[in-house]
């Protein structure tokens, strides 16, 4: 009885993916302990975040797929409403209007959109699966562009780019023709010049700064430079756990959040980073398998987009820390400290697991 209950409890949780995720979050706790200079309270809080995320994931994983399908539109609409509210009444912090104070809690609606956008777009394509025309792709693009515009205005360039990526993955997997992609690219490049000339000097300056951190060696450039020093000085084997000088002498900024990969690489070296990439690859590969095996158009698009987006998060963060991408505030998925991002990711993995569990049940 207990065994059966246990089985019932565990059944929807995909074992391979759970192994990958488990190892990643365990790594998170270990690295966080070092990055926070042995702050057990912080590690405990992160652990609590993980438990909350686990519960959420389990709930979603148990949800039948048609719930997911049906929830797409309401979630998207809710997200858009919240984004509009933020734009009007949001709290400003660090020069950006991203948070909405609900009295009991402060939420960041853009986080919700990370899930809502692929969900909505997958739903839309599912609805028009039978006869997809260029017009459908155009409408889907509009569904994507609306939240991105609002988020980019906050401004939260990092989130906007990641949501754009997740939407693009849906479009790509839904078979957007190469010709259209190429034409859009060319049109975009052609529009870049007049758009550029329309920008204010300070806006241009900020964009240029993204691509040349040395220009701003004391601001964001300082982050990149110190991150690269931390990573590079880690060497092949790393400086040893709790021994990173860049980390423990305060040279590394944002080391529990956006730059936690630098902490990890400094202390565990190239070998450690290699293993960490391997862990990510396990999760991503499993995501690909689930996507390939998914039974409906909706689930395929959704699973594919979620998997690729997860990879994108990891890649953008690591690319930023190692200095091959500009500094945009993106946390390292499952490793960086923070409950919201953990929860959003858990929802995504919950959906993936649900897609996997219920693939037989909704076979058409």
């Amino acid at each position: 009885m207990i065994k059966r209950l246990g089985k019932r409890f565990v059944a929807p949780l995909d074992p391979v993916m759970m192994a990958g995720l488990g190892l990643l979050v365990a790594t998170s706790l270990v690295v966080l302990y070092s990055a926070s200079d042995g702050n057990l309270a912080m590690v405990g809080k992160q652990f609590a975040n993980m438990l909350v995320a686990l519960v959420a994931m389990w709930l979603i994983a148990n949800m039948p797929l048609h719930y997911l399908l049906r929830s797409a539109v309401p979630i998207y609409v809710l997200g858009m409403v919240l984004l509009l509210l933020v734009a009007k009444w949001g709290d400003v912090s660090h020069g950006a209007r991203r948070w909405l104070n609900l009295g009991v809690a402060t939420i960041q609606p853009s986080e919700l959109m990370k899930i809502a956008v692929p969900l909505m777009m997958a739903w839309y394509f599912e609805k028009h699966e039978a006869a997809l025309t260029l017009r459908n792709y155009f409408v889907a693009t509009l569904l994507l562009a609306a939240p991105i515009a609002l988020i980019a205005r906050q401004p939260d360039l990092g989130t906007a780019i990641l949501i754009a990526a997740s939407g693009f993955y849906v479009l790509f997997l839904a078979g957007l023709s190469w010709r259209v992609m190429l034409a859009t690219l060319i049109a975009g490049l052609a529009a870049a010049k007049p758009l550029w000339s329309m920008l204010h000097d300070y806006q241009r300056h900020r964009i240029l700064m993204l691509f040349d951190p040395a220009q701003d060696a004391l601001g964001k450039g300082y982050h990149t430079i110190q991150g690269m020093i931390a990573v590079g000085s880690g060497g092949l084997l790393g400086k040893g756990y709790m021994n990173g000088s860049q980390t423990h002498l305060d040279f590394l900024p944002e080391r529990t959040t956006d730059f936690i990969f630098a902490v990890f690489s400094e202390e565990f070296g190239f070998i450690g980073a290699f293993v960490l990439l391997g862990l990510y690859l396990i999760v991503i590969a499993r995501g690909f398998v689930i996507t390939a095996e998914a039974s409906t158009y909706f689930t395929r698009l959704l699973a594919g987009s979620l998997t690729l987006t997860f990879f994108t998060y990891a890649f953008v963060n690591m690319g930023m820390v190692t200095g091959i991408l500009p500094v945009v505030g993106v946390p390292l998925p499952l490793i960086s400290y923070g409950g919201t991002s953990m929860l959003t990711l858990a929802l995504g993995f919950g959906m993936l697991m649900s897609i996997h569990t219920h693939k037989q049940l909704v076979k058409t």
Binding site: G175, I229, S233, L236, Q246, A292, Y297, I324
Partner: protein
């Protein structure tokens, strides 16, 4: 049919999707490889580089400035010392609103307008500063008051530091010199000498006198501490430490008491005095009046005080001993007499008739003797004792300028004495060749006539005359004048006084020397030009007075001291050594606008001799010294 199409569509769709998915996987793997490549590049290929960067981040090399050596006189009296105290320092890079911050600080500690002026000047001049002092020598109360409020003043801090102090203030100021903050030029000089690393912790460098010329001895070796620092630059722990080595103490040849007596003896007069030990070249007294307070220069002098000092007609900053070039006047006569004997131009007994002037053959120009009507029949002895100009006009003319040049060069005329201070000027001992090179002019017979009594082109510094007197006192054996007697490494006993070898021997005929010395003794005896100064001395003084003209007197005019503006009056010279038979001290005294050497300069020399040879302290000074002691209690 429709169903089939749908099915085919469906299959095509799956096919397309799988293809796209595969492409995505390829994209993922490609980016992963790029990321791994980047990590490999950073962590393996360039690990050394980033390791160094991380170590540079982590480890700061903090220089520890050495303590500067002290300067002592020959008896251990401290002339320059260090004491610890607090300064209030501002880092202009970290302070927002410098003026407002200083105003706020002024509510806690006294900050005078002068402090502000000095700070402004430092700000403008300083090189690569981190912090600059706004106030030095804070008392304990002020330090405590600021410490309590320090949180309000980011970028302002109290530093415990060693201060340089010159307790004798104006006394021997030109000799001791001073230290000042290292400026751009100093930094360049240090870099050129490859010494800049040793000055990384130092703010000060010697800028004059002994402080400058023995900078290398005094400064010491900078120590270093390897400190692990965090991103805020705060030291976390010390990794290693190399202690600094304090600079050496300098024990000078100077006798501080003698120096004080000599300076007092000048009274209100300006001038210079150098006293040497003829037996080894040790400088016993080194007076350039007026002096200045070297303490003013340490933390940068404010513009007003500087202007006052540098624009003063008394030129207190000028080191008259080394840089003041004056006509030698009659002080040259003993050397001229010796040259005459040496070259056989004249014998000691040979006499001339002095009508009160000298005329060159075939010229009607009269070279006047200082004594109108003349000295009558004059031999060499009388010529020295009474300082007969006519005798030496003739002697010089008969000898010729080039012989004169070669002989007097031996006594250091026209050249640097080689004393261990910077900025010495060589004076001028003319020759035919010199005039040709300098003025492209022929040497005239008249030039020789003036040169014979130390006028015309002849210029000497007080240093040179004292040196010449010491060589004569020591029978032609010269010792290089020097100020450093012994070195003393910190915490160790002083090195033994090295025995100084003579620099040269002129190999003079002892009879000639004895004769000239005898005539010089007569100068200080009744009938001589300095008889008054020599009166009652229990030891014999060999001396020679001199007068250096400041303005030229026209052919038919007469110089009347009372009718000449004070600053245009003649400078008074006196050179002397004593005891005459076995000299222990030789000196040159210059009293600017002092008139006749026998009246103003010689009495100063007498006071110096009395103290040095008899330990006799002149009355007024003794009173003052007692008063000072009473105040100190």
């Amino acid at each position: 049919m429709k169903r089939q199409t749908e099915l085919r569509n469906h299959q095509r769709e799956i096919h397309l999707f799988r293809l796209r998915l595969l492409l995505s996987l390829g994209f993922v793997l490609l980016l992963m490889v790029i990321l791994l490549g980047r990590l490999f590049y950073l962590q393996v290929v360039r690990q050394n580089y980033f390791h160094t960067m991380a170590e540079n981040n982590r480890i700061a090399l903090v220089p520890i400035a050495p303590n500067r050596g002290q300067i002592l006189d020959r008896n251990g009296v401290v002339l320059a010392r260090n004491y610890s105290g607090y300064t209030l320092e501002i880092d202009p890079n970290k302070v927002v609103g410098l003026e407002a911050t200083i105003n706020e600080l002024a509510k806690l500690v006294t900050i005078t307008a002068k402090d502000r002026r000095i700070f402004k000047k430092l700000l403008a001049e300083s090189h690569n500063y981190t912090t600059l002092p706004i106030r030095s020598r804070l008392n304990d109360d002020e330090a405590a008051r600021f410490a309590a409020q320090q949180y309000r003043f980011p970028g302002v801090e109290i530093k415990a530091r060693l201060f340089r102090e010159y307790p004798f203030r104006e006394t021997a100021s030109h000799l001791i010199g001073y230290i000042g903050r290292i400026n751009e030029q100093d930094m360049q000089d240090l870099e050129a000498q490859d010494l800049d690393t040793n000055y990384r912790g130092s703010d000060y460098i010697g800028k004059g006198g002994i402080e400058q010329s023995y900078e290398k001895e005094l400064h010491g070796t900078t120590g270093f501490e390897q400190v692990e620092v965090d991103a805020g630059g705060r030291g976390v722990r010390t990794l290693s430490r190399t202690s600094p080595v304090s600079g050496n103490n300098l024990i000078l040849t100077l006798d501080a008491k003698l120096q004080e007596i000599a300076e007092q003896a000048f009274g209100k007069y300006r001038g210079a005095l150098v006293a040497l030990d003829p037996n080894n070249g040790e400088v016993l007294a080194f007076v350039s009046k007026p002096g200045y307070d070297p303490n003013l220069f340490i933390d940068g002098i404010d513009t007003e005080t500087w202007d006052e000092l540098s624009n003063s007609p008394d030129v207190p900053l000028n080191n008259r001993i080394l840089r003041g070039q004056y006509p030698a006047g009659s002080t040259i006569k003993p050397f001229m007499a010796l040259a005459g004997l040496h070259f056989g131009t004249r014998t000691a007994e040979q006499t001339i008739r002095d009508p009160g002037y000298y005329m060159l053959a075939g010229s009607s120009h009269r070279y006047r003797d200082w004594k109108s009507g003349g000295h009558g029949t004059v031999n060499m002895f009388k010529a020295i004792a009474e300082s007969c100009d006519t005798y030496f006009y003739g002697l010089a003319t008969e000898m010729g300028i080039d012989k004169m040049h070669s002989f007097l060069s031996g006594f250091g005329f026209g050249g640097k004495s080689g004393i261990d201070l910077e900025g010495e000027t060589p004076g001028l001992l003319p020759s035919e060749e010199w005039k040709q090179t300098r003025y492209h002019q022929k040497w005239f017979a008249g030039d020789t006539v003036s040169a014979g009594i130390g006028q015309g082109y002849v210029l000497v510094t007080p240093m040179q005359l004292a040196y010449a007197a010491s060589i004569l006192a020591n029978d032609g054996v010269g010792y290089r004048p020097h100020l450093l007697r012994q070195l003393q490494a910190s915490g160790k006993p002083a090195e033994p006084v090295p025995s100084v070898p003579p620099a040269f021997d002129l190999h003079l005929d002892p009879e000639d020397v004895a004769f000239v010395k005898g005539a010089m003794v007569a100068v200080t005896k009744p009938g001589g030009t300095a008889a008054w100064a020599g009166a009652g001395a229990p030891y014999a003084i060999a001396g020679k007075t001199g007068t250096a003209q400041v303005i030229a007197i026209k052919q038919n005019e007469k110089y009347v001291e009372s009718q000449v503006d004070e600053r245009n009056r003649d400078h008074a010279w006196f050179i002397a050594f004593a005891p005459a038979e076995k000299p222990r001290i030789a000196l040159a005294v210059l009293v600017e606008n002092g008139g006749h050497g026998g009246v103003t300069a010689a009495p100063i020399a007498r006071k110096v001799f009395d103290y040095y040879l008899l330990s006799k302290v002149p009355q007024p000074l003794q009173v003052q010294a007692e008063k000072k002691e009473a105040e100190d209690d």
